[in-house]
Symmetry: C2
Subunit: 497 residues, 2 copies
């Protein structure tokens, strides 16, 4: 029990604004802890945590409850020191300010509501603000974290005021404008952790299959190749453009003796239309491999890779998937242990039998793809499947025609929840056939001489596939908009932040 004076002195030094350097001494004797790892077993331990002041509630003049958030974990901190100076200091903290709290881990009488840590709280002994947030935040994390359902429910009883403020819905553009705050929601914390895992599995599975990770240049000479959707720039006086795919360079790496390569990197498309599934810059996951007997070897890799990925996410990211589901409800993806491979012609037949008017030698439009996805799900109980042997006419000129019928090609697309996610094929490695196929499409062979020449020095039969990282996460989690799975998305209207 400290005397009045001592207590006053103690309080003064025990809260306030302070720099990281100064706090080192003040907080000596407390062990750093992460909010997520606090456990009832740690009761009575003296810990120090740093996090964002997500919410503060004053009770009278001497007590304050502070919800501290670190990552997506939150804990209640009880400020109830004699004198009340610290509680008033806490009450004055602007939301989202970064604060240090030192205190004793304790067990609340009843589970705490509204925090992820419900069985422990912290009895605060020291409290300092390391970084003050402005008091008029453009959006609040709580609003950004609301589900559509939550907002709808609140609107239905619009007069109810909860937790001191009305439930507001924050539109996607406003969230993206203030992405540094928006990213702090539990769903966003989870989405980008899932995304990291998708990339990890992609790399690990391919490495274990003998692939070598490479990097290909994004700056390319010339500018005509990609037509309207290419970003052009000046390169030291030469015309240049940004790579719309690593196609040529990954093929060159295979021909350069690496046999199996993969890469992860940005892909640039100067899209002019605003859709839910296109970005002007996205992260491409690409692979290319020498073939032995048949292009189905590429399908084998895709099958193994994605089944391993989905298994991994379901097994190791359960918490993250739950967090995403709380804000953006979705049903777990249905997929088979061995991925269904459907012949394009069989897909056409299924659609025709269902009364859909499709050209058997044409491409499927988005609607037909959606419909086929439903038919496949109903018939085969899977929302992940491959459609193989597309008509040659609807694939790029460098796609290998089928040896038994050149009207069809050694190619495939992969669908998740009725949306195309992966495109793959065997490539033409014979320079004469490549030139002939380009000419037949009206492409000026002179403009693609570099591409064709790459196969004049001995080229193994090869094929590969490409997939967008954002699209994998979007479709696995049924998120409906690609902007949700890009950390800082770029679309025709958005180039910031």
């Amino acid at each position: 029990m400290a005397s009045g004076d001592e207590r006053h002195g103690e309080e003064e030094g025990n809260y306030g604004d302070a720099t990281m350097g100064a706090l080192r001494e003040i907080y000596a004797g407390y062990a750093w802890a992460d909010v997520a790892s606090l456990e009832p077993e740690a009761a009575a331990a003296r810990v120090r945590v740093r996090g964002a002041a997500q919410a503060v509630r004053a009770v009278g003049r001497r007590v304050a409850f502070l919800v501290l958030r670190q990552g997506s974990a939150t804990v209640q901190c009880v400020v109830s020191r004699a004198g009340g100076g610290m509680a008033r200091f806490a009450a004055g903290l602007s939301r989202e300010s970064v604060v240090d709290v030192a205190g004793v881990v304790s067990l609340p009488r009843e589970p705490v509501r509204g925090t992820t840590q419900q069985l422990v709280e912290i009895q605060v002994e020291k409290l300092h603000c390391v970084s003050r947030a402005v008091s008029n935040l453009p959006i609040s994390v709580e609003d950004a974290a609301r589900s559509e359902e939550d907002v709808a429910r609140a609107k239905a009883v619009s007069s109810i005021v909860l937790a001191g403020e009305q439930r507001a819905h924050v539109g996607q553009d406003k969230r993206l404008d203030n992405r540094v705050i928006d990213l702090r929601t539990a769903a966003n914390q989870a989405i980008f952790r899932v995304q990291c895992q998708v990339e990890n599995v992609f790399r690990q599975v391919l490495l274990s299959e003998g692939f070598v990770g490479i990097h290909t240049p994004k700056l390319l000479g010339g500018s005509s190749e990609g037509g309207a959707s290419v970003f052009k720039l000046d390169y030291n006086g030469q015309p240049a453009c940004l790579a719309q795919s690593p196609q040529l360079h990954k093929q060159m790496a295979v021909c350069g003796g690496f046999e199996r390569v993969f890469l992860v990197g940005p892909v640039f498309r100067a899209e002019s239309s605003y859709t839910n599934r296109h970005l002007c810059e996205f992260v491409g996951l690409d692979a290319e491999m020498a073939l032995r007997d048949h292009y189905s070897e590429v399908c084998d890799v895709v099958d193994k890779l994605f089944v391993a990925m989905f298994d991994h996410l379901n097994k190791n990211c359960a918490k993250e998937l739950e967090a995403i589901q709380r804000q953006f409800p979705f049903k777990p993806l249905k997929y088979l242990e061995t991925t269904l491979r459907l012949d394009y012609n069989d897909g056409i037949r299924m659609l025709q039998e269902a009364g859909v008017d499709v050209d058997p030698m044409g491409d499927l439009n988005t609607e037909a793809e959606k419909k086929l996805g439903e038919l496949v799900r109903d018939k085969y109980d899977t929302e992940f499947y491959m459609l193989c042997r597309y008509p040659s006419a609807v694939r790029p000129f460098y796609t290998m025609p089928c040896p038994d019928d050149p009207r069809y090609s050694c190619s495939f697309d992969v669908f998740v929840r009725g949306e195309e996610i992966i495109s793959g094929a065997q490539r033409v490695h014979d320079p004469e056939l490549l030139a002939a196929q380009a000419e037949a499409r009206g492409i000026d062979v002179a403009t693609i001489a570099t591409y064709i020449d790459a196969f004049r020095y001995g080229a193994p039969p090869h094929g590969g596939f490409g997939v967008g990282l954002e699209r994998v996460v979007m479709l696995f989690c049924g998120l409906g908009n690609i902007r949700k799975t890009s950390l800082f998305p770029r679309d025709p209207n958005r180039l910031a932040p």
Copy 2:
């Protein structure tokens, strides 16, 4: 024993040009094998391999020796079928053509010279060309694979003609112009496998330290920021440029609640001068992390990461490092188990004591860095060390000044073999201080408002570092030119292939 006719018939079908599809049947009964994994234990096994015809030597009209290369492994294939048709076919193969060979693994009487497989060879039963290389290759793999020493030795005895041709040296530009052939040398096969491992270790160590892998946009709004060395482009009518570093976005991710992030991706610099250590596009390995007490926590991560990386390369890439050394001799990098951290002032003192004229409050030029590298190596027996607490004046405006003396900064550089490889620091997370430091440097605060605003919503103290992937490999292997470690390099003069 086949009769004459049968033999003739057998021969006809057993060699020739063929497609992958056709070979599937012809080669039934042979098991696919990799050249690298053939072993004496496999003697008498019937195998099929596919690779490049690196060299062919006819002996009389009925026998030919074919050196087949797959990746960086080579094996001798003996073509000696009765009739001689197959041997003549083999002798007519252009170098680098891709061929399939089926036959019986056998043990040569004497170790084969000039191939990596010296204790096994293949007695050829079937031989088909899958892809014909042009006969006039712009460069040969053998020439591209010669060491400087090898070329010099050959020049000294210039009249000697070896293996049917004079030893030619292929200049770097010509090699890069024909990269798809150049990449097939053993050294290049090794360099890019080492590079893949560097990235793997970077990712694995950081993942195990709680970092999340992210991706940041390369397309940025505006164009003035980076001055002359920025690539500008038009983005749907808005001025845009290519990111010269992921600095702002990785900081925003930390402030967005991810605490520890890393990323691997292209970095663009419109360099105008041609040097051995700069590229216009390189692969950046970047990390950024919330700090607890001190910026040395960033140094701790760098230390752990790079010691783990060097250990891993020495232990797991011995074969690759040997292959690089055969063409480009270098001494193994000297480094300590715990990386030396030298105070900038101590570094200055060491240089001054060695008679080097340096400004204690200025930056070190390349020469001084080299010299300090030598002094450190001599004194501490390491070629890998950190130089900490640079003068604030020589670091970017967003670098945190030291709390005890703002003339110095919470920053460091890391050196390998006397060359700077990593730059790191604590960043200013206080928007007012950030604006003040920018102003003091004459930067118009309005132009960096987005950057400053990112820290107004509560920002944890944080710091990070960046390193170029190509530079790590170049300096670890003492390669002397950054173009050797970029798969398809981009410099002021080179935008192809």
